[in-house]
């Protein structure tokens, strides 16, 4: 007790926008919380909802999918695909007891390192308040 809860947050960042923004943040020596672990993907539309569930199952306290802004997708409309899936997935996660704040879809342009940092800080703050992911109620063990 007494130690501050440090959430683990996984971010799927699109190669063309959000990941470039993270790169820019790095080269500009801007700081963002180390709680965010970034996985680079070619497109936000490539992130299968199974991967989000897998991330939560493996101990992530929050997941962010970050893609290009509407209209800017390198593959024309991959980010719209991500949008459709995210809306349905969030509904499913809520039914399963995962608070909606734990899963986010953000549009971050390649030049917008500031937004990436704001999203990261905001997410860490919100998840810290929520505490670790508790999907399943205490169920005990079968003897």
């Amino acid at each position: 007790m007494g130690e501050r809860f440090e959430p683990k947050i996984l971010m799927f960042a699109c190669n063309w926008c959000a990941y470039a923004a993270a790169d820019l943040a790095g080269t500009s020596r801007m700081k963002y919380p180390p709680n965010i672990r970034i996985i680079r993907v070619m497109c936000s539309g490539r992130v299968d909802p199974q991967l989000v569930l897998e991330a939560f199952a493996n101990g992530a306290d929050g997941v962010i999918i970050a893609g290009c802004r509407p209209g800017d997708c390198h593959y024309i409309e991959g980010n719209y695909k991500a949008l459709r899936r995210a809306i349905l997935l969030r509904k499913l996660l809520e039914q399963l007891g995962v608070e909606s704040e734990r899963f986010r879809l953000e549009w971050i342009a390649a030049s917008d390192a500031k937004k990436l940092i704001e999203v990261a800080q905001d997410m860490v703050e919100k998840i810290r308040k929520l505490g670790p992911l508790k999907v399943v109620r205490e169920v005990g063990k079968i003897e």
């Binding site: 991967l51 719209y80 899936r85 809306i87 349905l88 499913l92 039914q95 999907v135 399943v136």
Partner: protein, 331 residues
Amino acid sequence: MSEGKIRIAFYWMASCGGCEEAQVDAVSDEPSLINILDIVFWPVAVDFKKEDVEKLPDKSVDVALINGGVRLSEHVEMARLLRRKAKIVIAYGACASWGGVPGLANLYSREEILSRVYSEVPTVYERDRKPMVKYVAEEGVELELPEFLPILLPLNAVIEVDYYIPGCPPTPETTLNALKMLLSGKIPPKGSVIGASQRALCDECPLNATKPEKILVKKISRIYNTRIDPGKCLLAQGIPCLGPSTRGGCTALCPKAAMPCIGCYGPLETHIDYGGKVISFLASIIDSKDEREIARIIEEGLPDPAGLVYKFTLPASRLRLNLMKWGGRSV
């Protein structure tokens, strides 16, 4: 297998009896099976008791087919007993494989379920009556009844399972395929799904020919208020048909009858999480780029995603099984 006969045991846990029906149907389709099956335990039809099974030597039963989900302490006890007695244990049907429909109860706690069933439903009159594990009968005999477990588990969460026969229930054809595979001595790797196809349901669906290259719909329809065209791919009509992510092997019985696939043959080998996969393809067919419109289409057409995408697999889903660390295999 002694004298050309297969010593077989059947058991049911939290199930509806449909699996027994399917097993009887399978034998009616192939009556010659009766001559080679030596039934040693079958609670639904034959009067063997638990002590009869206990008396059998370990590993003396060739195959145990267990259906239903694990919901009572009795199920755990019987599953473990049959595991000791049988060489091969098969999870028969969707419930034993991944929890099935009764597994949706895991969206609620045990207390919520008991309170609902014993106190809140309008047809209950004796509201103070609650289930109890210890009970003294009128004759003064003290009975110990099975405990209602905190959640429903798939069979592999409590014992090691050798093979899975999917379906709700498995069709007679699937059942016979699986039995024939075992009889032929061609033993597949442990943990395999047997009797069914290795490909998605769409592959064997006659409506597949009418499936457009790209499906985009403005509305996801509910079957109760939609006139379905029986000759056209159901997904293309905006009906949430789970064929694309569901294992085939049932010969597309539901789509052939103009009913959408509800996913009872479960996931394919390549899936990480069945529900996640369904979310993936189902959301992709929505023809809109506007956040509010998408939300409205989903709200109207898919009001209960968990009930749809995890109708048969909730207890074995990644989020539910992995975090519980029951030691079972997730789908």
